[in-house]
């Protein structure tokens, strides 16, 4: 049995179960749906572990392959392939989901079943996005994951949630339409040349395209991914969405949803249109640097904790863009490392911000005051992840940033210097946050606050460990998460039977 469809479908089914469990009446424990989610995630982890550790049997770069015709008239098939990149990103998703489940979603009491269903549905969409190698299926999942996320933000978010949710949806959906155009353009171009209507990227990657056309198509893809990543001129949705989303949704957004943008750029921009991507690289790198500086600068000006973290994400994602378009394997790997590290670190920061909001009912740093005295554990964690986010060597972010900078330096030292300068405001916003929330004089009239219990600390401790391992011993992850080239198909033997 092939594990890939199970990976996608399992969260969905678990979600439905959770919903049903949430709607059950009295005798059932209200947290049943939570347990269902936990069980689902555990099974998912088991399957993923199986995939991870049993892949030695295959020799090729693609670990698993699954294919099933879907809409034969259009040449569309449910084609899922897994390589190291998608595997590592799925691992990241699962880890963050565990983080959410342990630290954030249990607090949701209003319509918990529905919340968990939407949560898992988002996860399913994200995993599908990471696995799909059929452009239509990819686009399907790409759009699919927006809907539950929209509802999560709009229904469970904070005060200005609905505007934020609308903004989020409009931006991502609108850019998705551009991608749709590009997908169809590519498919039709292939069709015109060969007479074969297919959405299979392995086949489409071989399409000979004129430079102008490939640039156009690449731009379509790029726009969609740029909005998701986000790249600076189109980042507008992100601060609002991150700020207003409930904690779990913020974690998913920052931790994984943004990564789908990076993932898409690697797989669909750089690998599908290598020439156009290399011609576009200077602009993309410029945008990346702009993102680094602009995001960091704006982050320094925020008073809202979650907003600050959100802008810092923009800054970090600038490095990802820079790395992807630096045109070397090193930059690509740096970008992947940065994605993983940013996913872990920022997610943890959002969890902490969410915990603060749960306790103090404010996100305004002026009104939070020093928490170290009241909540040393939470504050310690906050300090650690803030430091990670400013790019402390030895932690995951630095590995990514350094590789990206190195790759960029090979291309253009000036760009790399500018990007490196972005690390100074990074220190400013991170430490500003630390000194206004954690290490500051406690505000008068603070209610007695409950610190993180030990099990929460254990979960966050795991994230910490991951970050440290990523920072000090990234070698296995690095070799593991290399994206496989599209010229090699996983499934030559599977296609023929």
């Amino acid at each position: 049995m092939n594990p890939l469809p199970a990976l996608v479908l399992l969260p969905l089914m678990g979600g439905v179960l959770a919903w049903v469990a949430g709607r059950m009446r009295a005798p059932i424990n209200p947290s049943t749906s939570w347990w269902v989610v936990l069980a689902t995630l555990s099974v998912e982890t088991l399957i993923l572990g199986m995939v991870t550790f049993a892949h030695r049997a295959h020799a090729g770069p693609w670990l698993e392959h699954f294919s099933m015709p879907w809409i034969p008239a259009m040449g569309i098939a449910v084609r899922l392939d897994m390589d190291g990149l998608s595997l590592s990103l799925i691992w990241l998703s699962l880890i963050l989901c565990f983080l959410c489940v342990f630290l954030a979603t249990r607090q949701v009491t209003a319509h918990a079943g529905a919340f968990h269903f939407l949560f898992l549905a988002t996860l399913a969409g994200i995993i599908g996005t990471f696995l799909a190698t059929d452009l239509f299926v990819f686009f399907f999942f790409w759009e699919l994951m927006l809907v539950p996320m929209f509802v999560l933000i709009a229904a469970w978010g904070h005060e200005d949630r609905q505007r934020a949710a609308m903004k989020f949806f409009m931006f991502t959906q609108g850019s998705g339409l551009l991608m749709l155009l590009s997908i169809l353009g590519l498919v039709m171009a292939h069709d015109r040349l060969t007479g074969v209507l297919t959405f299979d990227i392995f086949t489409l990657a071989q399409t000979p395209l004129s430079p102008a056309l490939s640039m156009l198509l690449m731009l379509g893809f790029f726009t969609a991914f740029a909005v998701k990543l986000p790249v600076v001129p189109v980042h507008v949705w992100l601060p609002d969405a991150h700020t207003q989303a409930p904690t779990a949704a913020s974690v998913l957004l920052a931790g994984i949803l943004l990564k789908t943008g990076g993932y898409g750029m690697i797989r669909f921009n750089v690998m599908l249109f290598p020439d156009a991507a290399s011609r576009f690289a200077p602009i993309a790198m410029g945008l990346g640097v702009a993102g680094i500086l602009y995001g960091a600068w704006l982050s320094c000006a925020q008073d809202d904790v979650k907003r600050l973290i959100a802008y810092s994400s923009i800054s970090h994602m600038g490095f990802v863009l820079l790395g992807i378009f630096s045109g070397s394997a090193m930059g690509m790997q740096g970008a992947i490392m940065q994605m993983l590290a940013h996913g872990l670190g920022t997610a943890a920061l959002f969890v902490i911000a969410g915990a603060i909001q749960d306790r103090l009912h404010t996100r305004d740093m002026n009104r939070i005051g020093g928490l170290w005295a009241a909540m040393p554990r939470l504050s310690g964690m906050g300090l650690f992840f803030a430091v990670a986010s400013l790019g402390m060597p030895g932690l995951g972010n630095f590995t990514g940033e350094f590789l990206v900078l190195l790759a960029t330096w090979h291309v253009s030292p000036a760009t790399a210097t500018l990007a490196a300068i972005g690390l100074v405001p990074a220190a400013i916003y991170a430490l500003r946050m630390v000194n206004r929330i954690f290490l500051a004089a406690p505000r008068a009239g603070l209610p007695s606050l409950e610190d993180f219990p030990v099990r929460h600390m254990a979960v966050l401790g795991c994230i910490m460990t991951f970050l440290i391992v990523l920072g000090l011993y990234p070698q296995p992850f690095r070799t593991f998460s290399v994206p496989s080239p599209l010229s090699v198909t996983a499934s030559q033997e599977d296609h023929t039977p």
């Binding site: 001129p233 900078l405 690390l423």
Partner: protein, 656 residues
């Protein structure tokens, strides 16, 4: 053996840090202190063992440990790798031994502080990071320690976070050094690009020696690294953070902001001296900046009234000496001075801390006074440290190290491009002036604090735990210098022989009066200080005014008038000048400007791109509204549209 010991050496303080952090609130203060001291103590013992091993090995022997590959990929590789050679041996000894003494002191000093666990966690973490910094054989690995010590410094400066001023100071320190870090990062990127993918110090230096780098590349790399070192060591133009950093607890100031972290810049340049040797303009720049810094630091220290700030400025000034030495190519002298400076400055800080503690946290020297009687032990220790700092001839360690620098500077010569040259004697003159000023300000402090009328009453007594380290440091700062002597006195070159047995420094060709001058300047400074502040009715034992105060000439007191014109007036002028502290203002002003600009721009209209999006939405809504107005519900109007559409359609179809 070494492969085993070196990781342990680093792990010990790290483990102590983790234990103290995790045990916050569960372990009592004594236990925490013991754990921390044990961690640092074990590493001190190990470092001594390692030194013995190294010294017993061949002369050029190096202990190498590669723990695991960090990043290996085509075009770049970095390892978590350590290397113990003689330079790093010196450094680990300083770090662990001085660190141990300071930890022991701090265990008592911080005993009653509720945040002691956090304090020791940071302190031990700092030791670990510093050890990584000095032991790393890979520049990227060094960078871990480099940033790590910065972080610990930040945490410790802002240790008493209740006062916003402290946290501001902490952040200032971090930001300033962060700029340097960015420069260092750029330098590393440049080097790794040039050397083809490795940052091993050996590889880098070999590449430099082989001429793989273009001269401009070398200059750029050296410049980047110099900026990093300047920032870390609080040299011009980054000097402003260090005095503010005195907001931290005194042991922190002693360990981080005097003995070890601020010398990391010196260490880095000394480590890469082969690279710098090829970059003559950068060397000249280093020397000039060092000389300027040492003068400026000394002058500023002369007019400070806060005990710890005096010491902080003096640290800047002494680091200036080291940079001067580095710039002149006598890196051994810089390291020597680094070591002695670690001893006496730690001593001074610790003593100051003890004094302040007993004097009810009074730091203003003008409110102290007459402590000679109440705290004789501390007085002795402070005087020992002060004389070593001033470099009183023969009996202090500071004299020998300073002498080594001075003689090195004298014979320096820079061939800059386009025929410009810079030779040593002017720099030497500045250094000598600095020596005079050093003695002047430190003894000003000594006389004001310890002589005269009693100021604030003292309470309690210095605990034994605090006095032991003081004693040890006293001995070290007085006698630690005899291992290297000027040729004029005795051709003893143990230290430079230790560092680099192949190239022992000797300045036999220099005139003997150089040594005399070097010995005389501090003495002169001491004398002037005695005249000004030490006599029973001191002229200037009051707080200098804010504005240039020209004291009225007191009639009938010829000697006084002479003093007045010779010293008081220049002093007041100096006070006025340094109080303006133009550089400090410039740097702070720039920071403030950026801050206000960002606040102005982004607080007022947050994220103008977001505004743009909102405007676009508004336009679309407006269009919709306008269109809605057409739907006024009138049938005739609707029919007119149909007719118009028919009209247009016919026209399009027929006329096309």
């Amino acid at each position: 053996m070494a492969t085993f010991l070196i990781p342990i050496l680093i792990l010990c303080p790290l483990a102590a840090s983790l234990i103290t952090f995790v045990s916050a609130g569960r372990m009592d203060a004594r236990g925490i202190g013991m754990v921390a001291c044990a961690g640092v103590g074990i590493s001190a013992v190990i470092s001594i063992i390692l030194s013995v091993m190294l010294l017993s090995g061949p002369v050029t022997g190096v202990l190498q440990v590669t723990l695991w590959p960090w990043m290996h990929m085509p075009g770049f590789s970095a390892d978590i790798a350590f290397m113990l050679d003689r330079v790093s041996m010196l450094m680990i000894l300083v770090v662990t031994v001085v660190g141990l003494l300071i930890h022991i002191y701090a265990a008592s000093y911080m005993y009653h502080d509720p945040g002691i666990a956090r304090f020791f966690a940071c302190m031990t973490l700092f030791v670990a990071a510093m050890l990584v910094l000095v032991l790393a054989s890979d520049l990227l690995c060094l960078f871990i320690g480099w940033e790590g010590v910065g972080l610990c410094s930040y945490l410790l400066i802002g240790f008493w976070y209740d006062d916003p001023a402290n946290t501001v100071a902490a952040r200032k320190a971090f930001y300033m050094t962060r700029m340097g870090d960015v420069a260092l990062l750029c330098g590393l990127l440049l080097l790794v690009t040039a050397t083809g993918g490795s940052l091993r110090i050996g590889t880098v230096l070999a590449a430099v020696a082989n001429g793989q780098l273009a001269p401009s590349g070398i200059n750029m790399a050296a410049l980047f690294i110099l900026v990093a070192a300047l920032a870390k060591s609080a040299q011009i133009p980054f000097q402003t953070w260090l005095p503010d950093a005195m907001a931290g607890p005194t042991p922190t100031s002693a360990l981080i902001h005097a003995a070890t972290m601020v010398t990391a810049g010196v260490y880095l340049i000394a480590r890469l001296h082969d690279l710098f040797a090829m970059a003559v303009p950068v060397m000249a720049l280093t020397a000039v900046l060092g000389a300027l810094t040492l003068l400026m630091g000394a002058c500023t220290a002369l007019v400070q009234s806060d005990l710890k700030r005096i010491l902080a400025w003096s640290t800047i000034s002494q680091l200036g000496y080291m940079f001067l030495a580095l710039g002149c190519g006598v890196w051994q002298a810089a390291l020597f001075h680094l070591m002695t400076h670690a001893f006496f400055k730690a001593l001074l800080f610790l003593t100051a801390g003890a004094i302040i503690m007993r004097a009810h946290h009074e730091q203003d020297i003008f409110r102290l006074g007459g402590l000679r009687h109440t705290m004789p032990g501390l007085t002795a220790a402070f005087v020992a440290g002060a004389s070593s700092l001033a470099g009183l001839p023969l009996v202090t360690a500071g004299f020998y190290s300073k002498e080594m620098i001075l003689s090195g500077v004298w014979s320096a010569h820079f061939n800059l491009t386009h025929g410009w040259t810079l030779s040593g004697p002017p720099l030497w003159g500045m250094a000598l002036l600095g020596a005079f000023l050093t003695a002047l300000y430190i003894f000003r402090c000594v006389f004001i604090v310890f002589c005269g009328k009693a100021g604030t009453g003292a309470a309690g007594r210095t605990s034994r735990l605090m006095s032991i380290p003081l004693g040890c440091l006293c001995i070290l700062s007085l006698c630690g210098g005899v291992i290297e002597m000027p040729d004029t006195l005795l051709p003893l070159h143990l230290f430079s022989g230790l560092l680099d047995p192949t190239a022992v420094l000797s300045h036999t060709h220099q005139p003997a009066w150089l040594v005399m001058a070097g010995a005389g300047a501090p003495l002169a400074g001491l004398g002037v200080a005695w005249v000004l502040w030490g006599r029973s009715s001191p002229v200037m034992r009051e707080i200098p005014g804010q504005a240039p105060v020209i004291c009225p000439v007191r009639t009938g007191r010829g000697m006084d008038a002479l003093y007045h014109y010779a010293f008081v007036q220049p002093f007041c002028l100096l006070a006025w000048l340094t109080r303006l502290d133009i550089l400090n203002h410039a740097v702070t002003g720039t920071g403030l400007l950026i801050q206000t600009a960002s606040a102005r721009i982004f607080r007022a209209r947050a994220d103008f791109l977001g505004r743009l999006a909102i405007q676009a939405t508004r336009m679309i809504r407006w269009a919709g509204h306008l269109l809605g107005l057409l739907h006024n519900g009138r049938v005739r109007w609707y029919a007119a549209w149909i007719a118009g559409g028919l009209c247009a359609g016919l026209a399009m179809a027929v006329l096309s």
